[in-house]
């Protein structure tokens, strides 16, 4: 994801590069800018103005979509700061390939054991189908993972606070949370696939 212009998405809304962001304010700004820029307002304007409106509105929408969501906002800020995420992102894969190295696989240490057990269960399910006992184990594991995902929101918010108060070290915390989060989400997705919901 890259800004279409040198200016970044935060400045598009006249906002400082901070992560704790008042969503109602962002929405209000988005609506106000939409009223000014949207192609509907330029239906009878010149072709040049229409092209300008289309361009600006698409940037506005891209900016709003990115900043509205806490995760994509965090990822975007890290990108602006020139920090690569180690997750299974395309940029990470391409960068690793270009550098001729194996992509770093981040299995969070705290999850090593759990992930190993879960993979055994998933393997079992794929081989012999899901019986009631297995289903129960998977459902329980999933509940645990989901709960952990929720606490990550809090971790992330704490990291935002640090960043917003000027601590540039907070980016490392954010990267860590996002990587663990993406790993957990993949596990949940794998369980969902086996359970079909």
């Amino acid at each position: 994801m890259q800004p279409a212009e040198p200016t970044d998405f935060f400045s598009f809304f006249g906002l400082p590069r901070r992560l704790e962001l008042d969503e109602p304010t962002l929405e209000r700004e988005f609506y106000a800018l939409s009223r000014k820029l949207h192609p509907d307002v330029y239906t009878r304007a010149s072709a040049r103005e229409q092209a300008w409106s289309l361009e600006k509105t698409s940037q506005l929408n891209d900016a709003y979509r990115t900043l509205k969501d806490p995760i994509s906002r965090t990822e975007y800020l890290l990108l602006l700061e020139g920090i690569q995420l180690d997750e299974q992102s395309k940029t990470a894969t391409e960068a690793a390939r270009a550098a001729g190295v194996d992509k770093k696989q981040t299995v969070p240490a705290e999850l090593l054991e759990e992930a190993f057990e879960l993979n055994m269960l998933l393997e079992e399910a794929k081989m012999g189908g899901v019986n009631d006992d297995l289903r129960e184990q998977l459902v329980t594991t999933r509940a645990g993972l989901t709960a952990r995902l929720n606490t990550m929101q809090e971790e992330l918010r704490a990291a935002w606070k640090q960043w917003d108060s000027g601590d540039s070290e907070a980016t490392a915390l954010m990267v860590d949370v996002l990587n663990r989060r993406s790993y957990l989400r993949n596990l949940v997705r794998d369980i969902n696939e086996v359970l079909h919901y």
Partner: protein, 644 residues
């Protein structure tokens, strides 16, 4: 100013409508027709124009109710539900062809735009749709007494790029500048929201003749922001009809030993009968079906509402999945909806209402006519685009793209670049490079859909990035920008970054018409046929007027003229003036109306002259000496009286 009118058009699978929103302080509630936002009726006074196009015995194009009559008698000379074919290829419609009597051109190749046989010629779906649009345009022009050149046309929210492009092409072929394509459920929300100016979330459940859509919107101070949309472009009342027909065909084969499928006209009668029964069952507990079959056989059957509901339950249930997905995408629960709005004729079915009510746990809104609400909403959007009025000045629609946009990546997987439910206009920029030294072009395959593999997604376009300067592999950096505009239509541009050279892009729409083809169709026979017809009617009406005027000049010299009272004479004088004036223009409708009015006003005069002629005949005088002029087609008022 008058030519600036922008109308709103609902180009439906079963019926189409045109509506207009008048600006001004007298705006009434939209459910009070005649003021504010209203449907422009056709010449026959009906608001709905059936989306049927047919040829009469003289190969003249008929649209609407007249075409529907042809469908019953000569089904091979009529086309209906053409919306199902818009923007689709041969491979997409195999299923469709089993259920619909579309006669495709025999020489169709895979990947080509479909062509349907009608009479001696074949037509693409946009050309057929253009006929319907042209009829709506005429209806609007008749209503306003002036030209209409611009329109907002609605499309199912779940229409993909090709289907939208095809609709826009149809507009162009019909001589309309399509200012915007608006999603049907969103349009409906505009019609409802105009009246209610309140904040909250609404779900629009739009179950029409051929398509199903559901949209979740957030309304805030006049902003209509679509949060999520979902649907099925091949799920509608047509499916219910086809199911009922299939059941009846089975019945008939079993009970009467007749294979109804061998008799297209019998199928059409059956179709009409099951549709009538379906409609009746929305208000009655039972409905009778009676259809004459070849060999003097009669199919009779009574369907109860319970039987009907049991049969169509699986179809209705197919709408619930998209509803749940839309809610999930919106991050909202059914209970969080403040209002639920029903749109589309199929929502009249009690079972549908019950299902929606159960899903959202609240009574849905049905105040506006579900057949008209989309067209009314299109008219509101048309008003907004036309510069607006006091009523719409705060209103702004922010819609989304219903399907993710992707490109085919290595191994045939889809790499999504714009996620579904992104607010449009939306854009994405991707970097491409070469894989071989000296490579000067890169092939790109653009897809739309949610599936993982490219082959399971809708192919939008394949194009080559050309003119890349020869460089070692991997060195060129080609930046390709994908932009989905406010109509939900894709635009692509590219630039090679190292050389700064704008790369040439040839986007070949997968099942779309090229600009050139559309231009040709605009100029093509349909249009000319219409122009010829218009010219012929103009000439005929002028001839008629000339005859009439010369008859009137002679009639004034007749004794009968003096027997008219002063106001009768003045009325005739005034209408004579109007007719002479109308001849200065080329509007044959106006000329014809002037002729009719003058005819009416001279009725008494003609009677008096006829009486005089009769008495002179009775007195033994020669009829020829009582010259009443060369009347128009006798026995017109001031024409020659015919005696035998």
């Amino acid at each position: 100013m008058a030519d600036d009118r922008v109308v709103g058009i609902d180009l439906g699978t079963t019926n189409s409508l045109v509506a207009y929103m008048a600006s001004g302080p007298t705006l009434a509630r939209p459910d009070e027709p005649g003021k504010g936002v209203f449907i422009l009726p056709g010449e026959d006074g009906s608001n709905l124009v059936p989306s049927v196009v047919a040829l009469d015995n003289d190969n003249r194009v008929l649209v609407g109710n007249a075409a529907r009559e042809v469908l019953l008698t000569s089904p091979d000379r009529a086309i209906y539900s053409v919306k199902r074919l818009m923007g689709r290829g041969l491979e997409d419609v195999r299923e469709e062809l089993r259920l619909f009597p579309f006669h495709l051109a025999e020489d169709l190749a895979a990947g080509e735009v479909l062509r349907i046989k009608l009479g001696e010629r074949t037509y693409t779906p946009p050309e057929i749709s253009a006929q319907i649009l042209r009829q709506l345009k005429r209806n609007a022009e008749r209503f306003f007494g002036g030209t209409v050149k611009q329109a907002v046309i609605t499309v199912p929210a779940y229409f993909n790029d090709a289907q939208r492009q095809a609709t826009k092409d149809a507009g162009r072929i019909a001589g309309l500048e399509v200012l915007r394509l608006v999603n049907e459920p969103t349009a409906a929300s505009l019609a409802y929201g105009l009246d209610r100016k309140q904040n909250g979330t609404i779900a629009v459940y739009d179950f029409g003749g051929g398509t199903f859509d559901v949209s979740i919107l957030k309304l805030k101070d006049g902003i209509f922001e679509v949060i999520a949309t979902n649907g099925d472009t091949h799920l509608g009342g047509d499916d219910i009809d086809n199911l009922l027909i299939a059941v009846a065909v089975q019945d008939i084969a079993g009970d009467l030993k007749v294979d109804a499928r061998q008799h297209p006209d019998a199928i059409q009668r059956l179709r009409r009968a099951v549709i009538d029964a379906k409609i009746a069952l929305s208000s009655q507990e039972a409905a009778a079906i009676e259809v004459e079959l070849p060999g003097n056989k009669l199919y009779q059957r009574t369907i109860t509402r319970a039987m009907f509901e049991e049969m169509v339950q699986p179809i209705v249930e197919r709408t619930l999945g998209p509803c749940r997905q839309a809610l999930k995408d919106a991050g909202l629960t059914a209970e969080e909806m403040d209002e639920v709005v029903l749109v589309g004729g199929s929502t009249r079915i009690p079972l549908v209402r019950r299902q929606v009510e159960a899903l959202f746990a609240r009574k849905p809104h049905t105040e506006l006519n579900p057949d008209e609400v989309v067209a009314l909403g299109a008219a509101v959007q048309a008003n907004i685009l036309a510069g607006g009025s006091a009523e719409t000045k705060d209103m702004l629609l922010l819609d989304v793209t219903p399907l993710s946009l992707g490109i085919e990546a290595l191994g045939g997987v889809t790499a999504k670049i714009i996620q579904r439910n992104s607010t449009i206009p939306a854009s994405a920029t991707e970097q491409f490079t070469t894989g071989v030294e000296g490579q000067v072009s890169v092939a790109i395959h653009v897809l739309q859909g949610e599936r993982e593999l490219a082959k399971d997604c809708r192919s939008l376009a394949r194009f080559d990035l050309k003119g890349i300067p020869p460089m070692p592999a991997g060195l060129p950096r080609i930046e390709v920008r994908f932009l989905i505009d406010a109509n939900g239509i894709l635009h692509v541009s590219a630039r090679e970054q190292r050389s700064g050279k704008e790369a040439e892009i040839q986007v070949q729409p997968s099942y779309g018409l090229t600009d050139e083809q559309v231009e040709n169709m605009i100029l093509d026979s349909f249009d000319n046929a219409e122009k010829d017809l218009t010219e012929r009617q103009l000439i005929e009406s002028r001839n008629e007027a000339a005859t009439m005027l010369s008859a009137l000049v002679k009639a004034r010299r007749d004794g009968a003229w003096a027997m008219l009272n002063f106001s009768e004479q003045r009325k005739v004088d005034e209408l004579e003036g109007q007719l002479r004036q109308s001849l200065g223009g080329t509007d044959f409708h106006y000329i014809r109306r002037s002729i009719d009015e003058l005819n009416q006003a001279t009725m008494h005069l003609a009677e008096l002259m006829m009486d005089a002629a009769v008495s002179s005949v009775l007195r033994g005088k020669n009829m020829e000496t009582t010259d009443v002029g060369e009347g128009p087609a006798a026995p017109h008022p001031i024409g020659k009286a015919e005696f035998s």
